[in-house]
């Protein structure tokens, strides 16, 4: 039993750490906020999931539900954070719309008559 959980930990922990490392490399090197959100999500969900699973194999079994709870929180909240940050980036014009393959919100905003491009750029305001 100990040998099995040791092997599981030896596989899961480095795998999760590699995901975290690759996610942060992507966060550093990708050009805009949208692709950075994409890279960050890899470290936040799969990276943390693998590491916590590896940890759960080494701790007594009664602690496993708490680690499962942390994984559940992370899987629920990471997409919400990404969505809200992405929407904010769109609204404050931090996202270059010409680079988008599909811009469904623009059609909707045009339908509502919201002057999207008339909004002030927040690039200067945030600095």
């Amino acid at each position: 039993m100990t040998a099995v959980s040791d092997v599981a930990t030896a596989v899961l922990l480095p795998a999760g750490a590699i995901f975290c490392l690759l996610g942060s490399v992507g966060l550093l090197r990708f050009p805009d906020i949208g692709s950075r959100l994409h890279a960050a999500a890899k470290a936040q969900t799969l990276g943390l999931l693998l590491i916590l699973s590896g940890t759960a194999a080494q701790t007594p079994l009664r602690y496993a539900p708490v680690l499962l709870l942390v994984i559940l929180f992370q899987l629920l909240t990471a997409p919400i954070t990404s969505q809200i940050v992405g929407r904010t980036a769109y609204r404050v014009q931090a996202l270059d719309r010409r680079k988008l393959f599909r811009d469904e919100l623009a059609d909707r905003l045009a339908l509502d008559g919201t002057p999207v491009d008339a909004q002030p750029s927040s690039e200067d305001a945030d600095r």
Partner: protein, 88 residues
């Protein structure tokens, strides 16, 4: 097993440093929010790896609290960015 823990913690530390670099560079508040969120993930992961290393599970509630607080902070900061741009 010590080698596995050392390698994992070293990779997490490297990842944390790269994330910290993005946090310093910016260039705007939204990028910093994302970087802080990822940095907190690294902290949760590192704390989790530290539990079997020290054979001590005292840090377990800290993981739950961090996982919840990260979410609240990021969402609030993103709302603040919208507010500052005069959209809310």
């Amino acid at each position: 097993m010590t080698a596995v823990y050392t390698a994992t913690l070293a990779m997490l530390a490297a990842a944390g440093l790269l994330t910290l670099l993005r946090l310093v560079r910016g260039p705007d508040a939204l990028n910093r929010i994302v970087a802080l969120d990822v940095l907190l993930t690294m902290i949760i992961a590192g704390t989790a790896v530290g539990m079997p290393v020290r054979e001590d599970t005292t840090a377990l509630p800290v993981l739950v609290v961090l996982a919840l607080l990260a979410f609240t902070g990021s969402v609030t900061a993103a709302h603040l960015v919208e507010k500052r741009a005069g959209l809310r």
